[in-house]
């Protein structure tokens, strides 16, 4: 039995009580998801500014300095405001349900983790309006651009990142403790759904690297305001040291943004293939190997910084190795579909698009890993193409897939299938018009982070921008679909709307009751 403070199995009434003071993992999950969507729109709006400026050569709309702020804040918001909180939201909603726990292990801290975020991002967005503007040194804030040469608002940026870090660490601690300690009897580790497994490993990565990011911003702060010289050769420091510290965080960070996706795809593909996931155990081992390797590859972002050859070779080899466990995952998904009984509801459509487009992004990653060729690709649009393939048609698509997959469970109504399919096809086509030509721009020699470019790049940039606007507008369809579901408009969803789906979440009514698994379920 689970005990509650003052006994209540119904939802608390009143906005404050329900949303601000809540300790309920489902409400907190919803808050995270809504917040992340708002941030996606904000970061996306900034991407639209970028694409509008780059639509034609010449300075069209904005000043170069503001352009740099847009790129920087776009990157920061998408990474820390859209993708990461979306995954935490999914974790909040689904983990306790999937492992048969009554709630997250530390419910009050859970709420704290969430509520720090709106403040952190308010702070960061506020800095855009401060004298001198907001952060303009790229989401990677390389020193000394971010120290000696940065705007006055840098301190605000630093503390905003600190807040995000605190939130992420607490969120991750909660996830690990919940998974390790709150599983229902009989739910052994090797019975966990893969989404749970991938999150367990992601949470470990988070706790390991977010403090390192905190260290990096702290050194930026002291270098800028307190006269230290960590990143200044005159004082015995080294600007490249910043990059080592940043990427020691940064590379695991990009896997933080993809491992939960792997979990989501591993839930959806079997469900719509009506066939168990192929190679469960090897999926778990592959995830763990990716996480382990992710600590050994950071300097592949720094091949041009002038490291000794031995170091370049080491980082090249380790980076290439990551393709092996990632390949295992792709092959397992394909093998799961093989000889299944496939249907193509919207979650499955997004999952299939994920597999194809993520693999393309992975391939360009592998090309980037080849050091001598990376000298040519580095800091061009080829890199921009690579990471948008893995992040937008990877992470974001998987989040869309997950939303469609679980929306009926969350809201109790089926989403509007027609609109959802429209959303899928518009997104699929426009995302490729948006990001595929960027490969060519990069190969032809267009550097990233520039507000204006040589005439030869004009046509392709125009196409990219059009793709961008189309992709942006397509996301408004998603907004409509979600709002309709939230307002309860639509067919009543059955307990298990997807024929082949498996897992504890489908054994309870839709929408999921406010409190679930008050007595631990029986695990077969």
């Amino acid at each position: 039995m689970t005990e509650h403070g003052p006994h209540h199995d119904h939802k608390p009434s009143g906005f404050m009580a329900r949303w601000v003071l809540t300790t309920n993992h489902k409400d907190i999950g919803s808050l995270y998801l809504l917040f992340s969507f708002a941030m996606f729109l904000t970061g996306g709006a900034m991407a639209m500014v970028i694409r509008a400026e780059l639509f034609q050569p010449g300075l069209q709309l904005i000043e170069p300095n503001f352009f740099n702020q847009m790129t920087t804040v776009h990157g920061l918001i998408m990474v820390f405001g859209a993708v990461m909180p979306a995954f935490v939201g999914l974790a909040n909603w689904m983990l306790p349900v999937m492992i048969g726990a009554p709630d997250m292990a530390l419910p009050r801290m859970n709420n704290w983790s969430f509520w720090i975020l709106p403040f952190a991002f308010t702070m960061m967005l506020m800095s855009l309006f401060m004298e001198g503007g907001g952060p303009n040194f790229g989401w990677t804030f390389y020193a000394p651009l971010s120290t000696k040469y940065s705007p006055d608002s840098t301190a605000v940026f630093v503390f905003a990142v600190h807040l995000m870090g605190i939130s992420s660490i607490m969120g991750a601690i909660n996830v690990i403790v919940t998974i390790v300690n709150l599983r229902a009897p009989g739910m052994t580790m090797m019975k966990l759904p893969l989404f749970v497994w991938t999150w367990l490993i992601t949470a470990f990565l988070l706790i390991a690297v977010m403090p390192v990011l905190a260290g990096a911003v702290t050194m930026v702060l002291t270098d800028k305001y307190f006269g230290t010289s960590f990143f200044d050769a005159a004082g015995g420091g080294d600007p490249v040291m910043f990059q080592h510290i940043f990427w020691f965080f940064g590379h695991p960070e990009v896997y933080i943004m993809i491992l939960p996706s792997f979990g989501i795809i591993s839930a959806i593909v079997p469900a719509f293939s009506r066939k168990p996931l192929f190679g469960y155990a090897s999926m778990v081992y592959a995830t763990a190997s990716i996480a382990g390797l992710s600590f050994l590859v950071w300097a592949h972002h720094m091949f041009t910084t002038g490291m000794p050859v031995a170091a370049e070779l080491f980082f090249m080899y380790c980076t290439m190795l990551i393709s092996v466990p990632t390949g295992v995952k792709v092959f397992n998904w394909v093998a799961t579909m093989w000889r299944g009984s496939l249907t193509f509801e919207v979650p499955m459509l997004f999952a299939i698009a994920f597999i194809v487009l993520f693999t393309i992004g992975g391939f360009s990653g592998l090309m980037l890993a080849i050091t001598p060729v990376d000298f040519q690709y580095h800091d061009t649009y080829f890199v921009v193409a690579h990471f948008h393939y893995v992040l937008v048609s990877g992470a974001i698509f998987s989040i869309m897939a997950a939303s469609y997959y679980w929306l009926p469970k969350w809201t109790g109504v089926m989403f509007d299938e027609g609109l959802a399919k429209l959303h899928f096809w518009c997104s699929l086509i426009s995302v490729n018009v948006l990001f595929f030509p960027m490969h060519f721009l990069g190969l032809a020699g267009m550097p990233r982070r520039i507000p204006d470019y040589a005439l030869q790049f004009a046509n392709v940039n125009a196409i990219v921008s059009i793709g961008g606007f189309a992709f942006g507008l397509s996301q408004l369809i998603f907004l409509v679909v979600v709002i309709k579901c939230m307002r309860g408009k639509g067919e009543k969803a059955p307990d298990k709307p997807w024929e082949g789906a498996e897992g504890l979440e489908w054994e309870m009514p839709s929408p999921a009751p406010y409190h679930t698994h008050l007595t631990p379920p029986e695990i077969k």
Binding site: M1, T2, E3, H4, G5, H8, P12, A17, V20, L21, T23, P102, D103, A105, L106, P107, R108, N111, W112, W115, I116, F119, M123, D152, A155, V156, F159, L163, I169, A172, I173, I176, V177, V180, N181, L182, P185, A208, V209, P211, V212, G215, T218, M219, T222, F226, G227, T228, S229, F230, A233, A234, G235, G236, D238, M241, H244, I245, P308, T519
Partner: protein, 287 residues
Amino acid sequence: MAQTDKYYVPAQSVWPIVGAIGLFLIGYGAATWISSDNAQASWIFFAGCVVIIFMLFGWFGNVITESMSGLYSAQMDRSFRQGMSWFIFSEIMFFLAFFGALFYARMIAIPWLGGAGNNVMTHEVLWPTFQAHWPLISTPGGTSTTAMPWTGLPLINTVILLISSITLHWAHVSLEKGQRGPLTIGLGFTVLLGIIFLGLQVQEYIHAYQDMGLTLSSGVYGNTFFLLTGFHGLHVTLGTIILFVLFCRILKGHFTPAQHFGFQAGSWYWHFVDVVWLCLFVFVYIL
């Protein structure tokens, strides 16, 4: 294996949002204070600190009441323990960033500036008169300073912290045996040693600034020295406060031999801070 016979899920709580506001005030206040030297902004920062302290009292107050009224099961105790362990792990990673900076500067940046590896030209063209050595008592840019010896205050401080770990352990063992007297004395001593440590550290800083010319801005030696010992000092301060609160709770008769997670967490934290000091002592002072 998990057993879920009784799991307490707390009702709505006002503390998380209060905590979020507090952190926001601290962050925003500190940022404006630092970047504009605006004394007004310092009030925002201090207001944030007050809010956080208020929150901590409220939140832990709730937890203690719940715990004392027996709402917590063994499983929840495990949740807290695991949560605390992972928190300490995150702290280790935070310190690792600064130790990493120390090692990088010593083993890579400074030798390179002195012409090692593939950086012969760096030395020849840019810093022809610079000589690589550690501690870096004269920087490529020409700032000079003196190195802090490990004998004297640092050694005394090491001994103090080591003793404090022993007294704390003694207190812990006594708690588990139900001997309240030694528990109180052991913990009291630990708090006292923590305060002495901090006092001596302040002395050391004053000495460094006034007599040795070793400051936060005297190159990467001073940077790593002050940030590592400084963040450690902050952790000792926090640890001492935690232990002091535990001390007060013990005077009020809290904790039983079977259930004393709060005490355990505090003592873990203290031992962690101790271990960090040992690493500091070896890598910052001695080597």
